[in-house]
Assembly symmetry: C2
Homo-oligomer: 329 residues x 2
């Protein structure tokens, strides 16, 4: 089957390359540890020239042979590759943002082999406390692709991660989003604070410890806020009420519980309704499983997972940008 | 003037030694960077014997000459020196705790020179989420010493620090307390998270940036919680609305604002009153100045600073333990 598009999901630590056929069908997927913060360094000859540029090296490694076989394949990329530290900065588009206006705002960089790489811009929300995303906008648009437009007002799209995003949509448009630094806060506390000193890595996910953390965040004790409840990950250990191997998952549940409890309150207020929206989760399956447990405890009863959101979003954006023959749809 | 007591405030990073005369008057104060996590290592002869024990070396350095001059001086110590990682573990006393029951629960260790060192136990509150303190109990008792008993029900004692403590008292007793990990969270985020990458050290405290952070925490935007508002320290920088030199103090204000906003809500609920208690702050004067600004913004209108709380507390505890002649009072 003939390829129609090379789609790159190029983040901070990893680079995934998709070779896509008509309709966005995935012919081949490659995962490389060539994110923009860990680019290859060994010089190599590309297109007859010695090259030491990390972006060129990673790009060639990811899909050079695909382009050798089909030199005219269009290329689209999303993620941190378009940041100020990326290959070429693609300035943020303002909310509301949809496939049409993002597709019309692609930035380009010409690679050494002459291929034009089209880079998807991130999205900025210029509220009193601004929010930004880069990469997640593509996943959200991919997840929306198969949905009936009229459900989207009752919908919230969640993208757990170092900086989790919660995205409100309307009529195929990203209208509003919030960021929580939960994942990064968990990582720095576990690695660098006193809480990490008594944590022991467990063999596997400790569901009861995680759920206990979530319950504490949602309880009357949790109303004192996460800066205070955090300390219980230490003191429950001191009193023998929480084993060393349970402490990391307890802390994870506590932080995610505080995130979702605040999210639920904000959603109820914004929607002026006791009814919480349906949730679609996008991302790493183990992290989505944690969020699913905690969402359920917080009263979000309708939660589903989106598959292949990134490649679908990149396909839609390439279509909107006119990179594909109309017969490819 | 004749010394009556050696009082040691022996924490994680520092050791302060007080030589006290009748009435607790300070004759001499020494500050050493010999906390229990950075004890001296170079062996030395103490009392005719080669010694490599860090606690012995630090103790001798702090007050060996005072004991040479007056070998029978009693010695009392508070702080992490009594923790499981300390010189001798002094098990926590339960709340409610006062001068009498803490003074009756001193742990002892005999030093190489034969001096008995009396160690003040910490305090534990066995609530659903337990809380512990070690060293702060002594400061609280010292601050209470000069107060009329009948004001204490309307009083809250704050001890800002890596782990700030907020202590409720009644009739000279520590009845309840809460811990917030605000200081340590600020440190790990500034040193190890993405927020630190764009921070530039300013020449001096940036009051307006700090106050702005406090205001955000107290605003409607702040209701989404600190895990989310944190991200504004980055995005306000990205949009040019917060200069690199203002970011650290903005983050500090944001975190302290979230701490105090939660504290105020909890205090109103517990006291079943819209009226917030008077506050006495104990600790580092620069940190207390930050907390004073933020307390004012949160509606705590009556805030004072306690002086010499540690040495006064140690003196009171030595008296209660019978270490001093009754003529010393």
């Amino acid at each position: 089957m003939q390829a129609q598009l090379i789609a790159l999901d190029w983040g901070t630590t990893s680079l995934r390359a998709y070779k896509l056929a008509a309709g966005g069908q995935v012919l081949e997927l490659r995962s490389l540890s060539c994110g923009i913060m860990q680019l290859p360094k060994t010089p190599r000859v590309i297109n007859g020239r010695e090259c030491a540029d990390g972006f060129e090296l990673a790009f060639d490694q990811a899909c050079g042979d695909w382009l050798d076989a089909q030199p005219d394949l269009p290329v689209i990329a999303c993620g941190m590759v378009g940041s100020a530290q990326g290959w070429r900065e693609a300035a943020y588009c303002d909310t509301p943002a949809d496939v049409a206006n993002l597709g019309n705002s692609l930035q380009t960089v010409r690679s050494l082999r002459g291929t034009l790489v089209h880079i998807v811009p991130g999205v900025i929300q210029r509220s009193a406390l601004p929010n930004v995303m880069r990469g997640e906008e593509t996943q959200v648009l991919g997840a929306l692709q198969n949905l009936a437009v009229d459900v989207s007002n009752e919908l919230l799209i969640g993208l757990p991660g170092s900086h989790s995003k919660w995205v409100e949509v309307a009529a195929g448009c990203i209208t509003h989003f919030d960021t929580f630094m939960t994942g990064e806060v968990f990582a720095v506390l576990s690695e660098h604070s006193i809480l990490g000193r008594t944590q022991q890595q467990g063999a596997q996910f400790d569901g009861p410890a995680f759920d206990r953390g979530v319950r504490v965040a949602l309880s009357a004790d949790g109303e004192i806020g996460v800066l205070s409840t955090l300390f219980s990950a230490r003191t429950l250990g001191l009193t023998g009420a929480l084993s060393p191997t349970a402490q990391a998952d307890y802390l994870s549940g506590l932080l995610i519980g505080h995130e979702l409890s605040a999210l639920a309150a904000v959603q109820r207020r914004r929607r002026n309704s006791g009814r919480l929206p349906s949730v679609i989760l996008i991302g790493n399956s183990q992290l989505c499983a944690r969020y699913s447990r905690a969402l359920d405890a917080c009263g979000f009863t309708r939660v589903t997972l989106a598959e292949q959101a990134t490649e679908r979003g990149l396909w839609q954006l390439a279509l909107a940008a006119g990179l594909l023959d109309s017969s490819s749809r």
